[in-house]
Point group: none
Amino acid sequence: MNMHELTRELHVRNDSKIVMLVADGLGGLPLEPGGKTELETARTPNLDELARRGVSGGSIPVKPGITPGSGPGHLGLFGYDPLEFRIGRGALEATGIGFELGEHDVAARGNFCTLDAAGKISDRRAGRISSEESAPLAVRLRQVKIPGVEVFVEPVKEHRFVVVFRAAGLKGDLHDTDPQATGVPPLQPKASKPGSERTAEVTAEFVVQAQRLLAGEKKANGLTLRGFSARPHLASYDEVYGLKAAAIAVYPMYKGLARLVGMQIVGKAQTLAEQIDVLEQHWKQFDFFFIHFKYTDSTGEDGTFDAKVKKIEELDAAIPRLTRLKPDVLIVTGDHSTPSFLKSHSWHPVPTVLVAPACRTDGCQVFSESESLRGGLGQFEAKYLMSLALANAGRLGKFGA
Amino acid sequence: MNMHELTRELHVRNDSKIVMLVADGLGGLPLEPGGKTELETARTPNLDELARRGVSGGSIPVKPGITPGSGPGHLGLFGYDPLEFRIGRGALEATGIGFELGEHDVAARGNFCTLDAAGKISDRRAGRISSEESAPLAVRLRQVKIPGVEVFVEPVKEHRFVVVFRAAGLKGDLHDTDPQATGVPPLQPKASKPGSERTAEVTAEFVVQAQRLLAGEKKANGLTLRGFSARPHLASYDEVYGLKAAAIAVYPMYKGLARLVGMQIVGKAQTLAEQIDVLEQHWKQFDFFFIHFKYTDSTGEDGTFDAKVKKIEELDAAIPRLTRLKPDVLIVTGDHSTPSFLKSHSWHPVPTVLVAPACRTDGCQVFSESESLRGGLGQFEAKYLMSLALANAGRLGKFGA
C-alpha cells in the first residue's frame, strides 16, 4: 500500500487552505568548509519567524545522494514518488516549453547535428549552433507531412528542439536514434516494446523528410531524436488528496509539471509580487496553492553566491503577504539544492518549514540548513510532505480502527 | 526482503528479557505554540533517568502524516508493517471486545438502524440508542439459527454490535450492507471476491431472521453490517523473532491484538501496579513482555491536559519496579500520539526510549518530545523497533558473511 492509496482512502474535505512555496534550488553550501550557506548568509527575519512558529526539517528530494532534475524534484514535493512516476525526457521537454501534451501524443527531444558526406555524425550538437540560427530550422521542419499524423516541432535552446507526433494508437516505447557517438550515422528509429512499431515508422518518415529539408545547411544538416515518451498518466490532486489545487508559476516547465498532476494554472504573473497578487485574487477558489520561485535556482546554477543570497532575501520579504492570508498550513521548501559552490543541482537535503496550529514546534530559531537538522520533521523524503500537509490541515482521517 | 524475513533468518535464542511498556497515545502537543507538551510538563524523574541511560528517538507509527487507529498503531510497535498487515474492521471489533476469533470465523461490525414503513433507512444509528437499550437486542439476535453455521452476536457500545459466523469454508470478502445513506434500504449481502458467495448467503439469511426479531422495535428495527473479515493471519512472535511473548493488558482490544501475534495473555490486572505484579510473577516464563497502559490515551482523547500529565506521572512512578527486574532491554514508547490539544489520535512521532547495555547513549537528559529529536534513534518507523530490541538483546545474528 503506497502513500497515494492511503491518501485516496483517508482524505476528507474541509475549508482549510494550504500554501506550498517552492524556492527552486533553495538549499546551498558554504564557499569554504565551516562557512555559511547562501540561506545562512541572507537576512531572513520572516523565514526565521516561520521557523520559530513552525516545524523544520530537511527534505531529501529522491533518496540520499540522488540529485534530481526539475521533474523528479517537483513530483516528489507534489507527493508522487519520483522513482515510481517517471516522466520521459521528450514529455518533460515538451512540458518545459509549455506544450500541452494530449492523450494521443508522443514527444521526443531532438538535437540538430552535423553529418559528413557519408551521412555519419561529425558533431552531435551541430557546432553548438545558437538559438537564433536553430529556431528557424525547427520551424522549417513543420513542413513535414505524414498522412494521418499531426506533427509539431518546437524550438528549444541552441541545438535542441521538441517534436510531437499526434495520432490515435501511437506509443512512446522507442529506442533513441542518437548513437551517442560521432563517426557513425544516426540510428534507425526502432520500437523498444511491441505496440510502438507504428511510431517507429512515423518517426522514420519524419527523419527522411527532415533530412531533406535540412540538406543545404552547413552546421545543422542532420538530427537525432531521444527520450520518446507519451504523456505520463498521473492521478490528479483532486483524486489522490481531495484538493482543488492552483499553480502560480512564471516558467512553462513548472506550469507544465503542475498541470500533469491536475493543478489549474492561474494568473500570468512575471514577478513574485505579481504571483502573490494572483494568490490573493484566487484565495477563495482553491484549497491548495503551489507557488514557484525560480531565481534561487538560476543564481545557484550561475555560481553567483551573493546573487543567490539576494534572491533569498527577496523571497523573505514576500513572506508577510503570505502569512497575512492566514493559510492553515504554510510550507516553504525547495525541489532540491542548487549550491552556487557546485553551480548545479545537488543531492543535499533542502531546508523545509511547515507552519500550522498543531505542527509541534521544535525550538528551531532560524530557517537554515544547519538549524533544520535539529527540526521536528527530521530528514524526510520529499514525497511525504503532502501527507504531512494534509494531516496538519485536518484533511486526513484515521488509518484503521 | 522485509524485516520479518530478516528476523526469521537471523534471530537466535538466549536468556535475555525484553520489556516493552506502551503508554497508549503517549505523544502530545503544547496547548500554545512554544509551550510544553503533557510529557514535558509532567515530573518524570524515572523516565528522565532512562533517557540518560538509554537511547531516544521519535517513533513514526505508520508514515509521516498518517494517524493510526489502535490496530495499526500496535501492529507497528510489534514489528508488523501496518501497511502490509491490515486487520478488517469486523475482526478488529471482535478483537476489541475480547472475542477470540477462530480459524473458520468471519466477523462483521453491525449497526442497529431505524427503517421506515417502506424498509428504507431513516436513521443509520437508530437514534443513537443507548448501550442499555441495545445490548438486549444484540442478545436477542442470538436466536437466529442457520443450519451448519454457528452464529455469535455480541453487544458493543450504543448502536454497535459484532456478529461472527463460524463454519468451515466461510470467507470474509463481502461488500458492506451499509449504504452509508438514509432514504434507501440496506444493501443485499454480496461477495466482493469469488469464494465468499456462501458467506453472502449466510449473511442474507441472518439479516432476514434478524429483521424479524427486531420488527416490533421503534428505534432499532433494522441493521447494517460492514467490515466483513476473517481472522487475520499473522506469524507469531515465536516464529518471526524466536520470542516467547506475554501480554499484560487491562483492556480487551490490546489483549486481542497481542493474541493475534501469538502473545500469551497473562494475569487479570486492573491497575498498572497489578500489571507489574503480573510481570514479576511471570518473569521467568517469558522472553518478551508487552505492558499496555491505557490512560495516557484516554485522557488525551478527553482533552484533559492536566489529567494526562498526572497519568504520565503515574507511569513514571512505576518505572523503578520495572528496572529492579533488570530487563536486558527496556523500551518505553507509545502506539501513537494523542495530544489533548487535538482530543484525538495524531500523526506526530512518539517519544521512545530504549535502555540496554550496548544501546549507545546519546546525551539526552530528559524523556520528552523535544529531547527525543536529538536522540540516537532519530525518527524511525515503529516497525523497526522490534529489530532494535532483538539486536540490543543479543538475539540477532549477522546478516551475510
